[in-house]
Amino acid sequence: MKALYFAWVRERIGLAEEEIAPPGEVATVRQLIDWLSARGEGYAAAFANPATIRAAVDKSHAAPDAPIGAAREIAFFPPMTGG
């Protein structure tokens, strides 16, 4: 699946997007965050405070316990500041 990062999540990780292949036991958004956090310092910094992280699964807002099984695209970003 494709992972997208925006705003300071993107800056801390140092990537706008990448292909990821989490193992089968990574089933929810929250578990994916934990799995990504272990990939390196940038990821750990980006996800250090999960309360400030929002996620979207296939371009729809997703809660931490949302399943990621069939997702093609998962995005992580800070709370939005549009408008």
Partner: protein, 155 residues
């Protein structure tokens, strides 16, 4: 039942013309009594801002704004609805966002426009980064808890 209004949603780097968009929405109509338009501008809070860099999530931005627009159409009897949200570099004094709601009655147009703005603030995938007048890159604008509570009041 009249035909359901189709909202117009645009996400673009270019500026827009609020007067032109209002004219497009009302052109040839005999049934619109009230037109409420909201323009959000890039403002300088402390005298040191030069511009904002608006990052967005292409695809999701349009989809999410469209979803909020559909919710507004479910809640109020609207005769027209247009939303434009810009991305990229926006200087102080420039327009960022436009919402126009048309209805027979003013209360519906006001409520729909305010609802849309409240929801856009907390649901549309845009992020603002400050650029300072001295050339320095500033911080990412933080989400305000008052925006969350503005959204919550719509239930």
């Amino acid at each position: 039942m009249t035909q359901r209004t189709a909202p117009s949603v645009r996400v673009q780097a270019e500026d827009f013309d609020p007067g032109r968009e209002q004219a497009l929405l009302t052109h040839g109509r005999r049934d619109i009594g009230a037109l409420v338009s909201f323009v959000g501008l890039c403002r300088d809070e402390d005298g040191s801002l030069e511009s904002l860099e608006l990052e967005h999530y292409p695809g999701m931005a349009e989809t999410e704004i469209g979803r909020v627009a559909d919710q507004a159409l479910d809640r109020w009897p609207l005769l027209g609805l247009a939303v434009i949200h810009r991305f990229g570099r926006i200087r102080v004094g420039e327009r960022i966002v436009l919402v126009i709601a048309a209805a027979r009655r003013r209360a519906d147009a006001f409520a729909a426009a305010e609802f849309l703005m409240d929801y856009l603030k907390t649901r549309a995938p845009f992020w603002k980064k400050e650029r300072r007048a001295d050339g320095a890159t500033g911080d990412w604008v933080e989400a305000k808890s008052e925006d969350e509570s503005a959204t919550e009041r719509w239930g």
